[in-house]
């Protein structure tokens, strides 16, 4: 980082509620119509300890610079729209509280916000998710069953449901895939999220296409590229044991059991 002072932006219009502290939010901004490459911009934002990073971004967008672009939808950690790199770690902006980011007493707090890596940045904090969803679609993430349709529900025991419970929690936010160093280096790797969603059906007792999906993941760009760095498990906002799921797929391939 060079010693050149970064331009500060006028944030005086942002309302400062009682008990708020001013923290610096550094955002990696990029406008493809003007900029050749992304650059950092700083905003001094009043924040309550109970605020989420998403609140800070909304305040900047509403009161300081309306051109700031990012995705967000439900704002309650379930739609998976606002995955971004917060202080260098992939997180959902709506699930990170300011109180967990505050610097030690008397020191100025700086929060850096950047788009997730490995997917092309389109503007500011949002990326082109198409390569991510392409890998997701390629593992056939839907129930495949042959034979006659049952007249009632497809029953499943509690134990059979438990087998893949962890991977049903995925919200496709791309935190895991965009934290994977193998995915950064090689975008044709399926990535953790696609493998998690394949796992969800491979180990489902009602599904009959486990072989098909295992064949897909046995290929050059499949599970064997995983180096078990555990970045994905650390990044997952839903607490899915992603690396464990990938290892279970490897084991199923090695020992041909699902």
């Amino acid at each position: 980082m060079t010693a050149v002072a970064e331009p500060t932006n006028d944030t005086s219009q942002i309302p400062a509620p009682e008990g708020s502290v001013t923290i610096t939010v550094k955002i990696l901004r990029f406008n493809p119509e003007i900029d050749n490459e992304p650059h950092w911009e700083s905003y001094d934002v009043p924040a309550l300890p109970t605020d989420r990073v998403l609140n800070l971004l909304m305040n900047i967008k509403n009161y300081a610079d309306g051109t700031l672009s990012f995705r967000r939808s439900c704002a309650h950690g379930i739609c998976g729209s606002d995955a971004m790199q917060i202080n260098g770690i992939n997180r959902l902006a709506c699930k990170v509280l300011v109180k967990d980011l505050l610097a030690k007493e008397g020191k100025q707090t700086t929060v850096t916000v950047a788009p997730i890596k490995g997917l092309p940045t389109m503007k500011d904090l949002y990326v082109d998710m198409e390569p991510f969803f392409e890998a997701f679609r390629a593992v056939k993430p839907y129930l495949i069953a042959y034979g006659n349709e049952p007249t009632n529900e497809r029953y499943q025991s509690a134990a059979d449901r438990e087998r893949f419970d962890d991977t049903t929690k995925c919200i496709l936010c791309a935190c895991c895939t965009s934290s994977c160093p193998v995915y950064w280096a090689d975008g044709s790797y399926f990535g953790p999220a696609a493998i998690v969603n394949a796992h969800r059906f491979i180990f489902d007792s009602r599904d009959e296409a486990a072989e098909e999906r295992l064949d897909i993941l046995n290929d050059t760009e499949g599970v064997w590229r995983c180096r078990t760095t555990f970045n994905c498990t650390d990044a997952c906002p839903r607490g899915i044991q992603v690396t464990k799921a990938i290892q279970e797929v490897k084991r199923a391939l090695l020992f041909k059991r699902t």
Partner: protein, 137 residues
């Protein structure tokens, strides 16, 4: 973005169909097994060569000739040579696959890797089996 919008069938699969071969599986399993074997072979080799009874100072032509008179040490060294070459070569193959940016670079780096592996394997095997203890200087 414009690229994905001009696609004829944006939802059609863009990946080649799975090839149904187990090469990546076997090479993954090979890395685990050969790694374990190499721990024993290489640490044993280092222990015998560098620490046991006099260590590195007793190594000379006669010492090597004496070792290779026994098929056991011939086999030990041969196993170490082959496993280390294939293990290291396979590791480098994955690294090249990860970090080469162009297909042509990837191809030529791999060819260089395979050629050097072949030279070392052939040369090493040849020396182990055709070693002549009565060679004259």
């Amino acid at each position: 973005m414009s690229e994905s919008l001009t696609l004829d069938k944006p939802r059609s699969p863009r990946r080649p169909a799975a090839r149904r071969n187990n090469f990546e599986l076997y090479s993954w399993a090979f890395m685990r097994i050969s790694g374990l074997a190499l721990v024993i072979l290489v640490l044993g080799h280092l222990f015998i060569m560098n620490i046991l009874d006099g260590g590195v100072h007793r190594i000379n032509f006669a010492f090597v000739a004496g070792r290779w008179a026994s098929p056991f040490w011939q086999f030990w060294d041969l196993a170490m040579l082959w496993l280390a070459q294939l293990h290291g070569g396979n590791g480098l193959r994955t690294i090249i696959d990860d970090y080469a940016r162009k297909d042509t670079t990837r191809f030529w780096l791999k060819m260089l890797l395979y050629a050097s592996m072949a030279v070392i394997l052939v040369l090493g095997t040849l020396v182990i089996f055709t070693f002549d203890p009565n060679i004259t200087a």
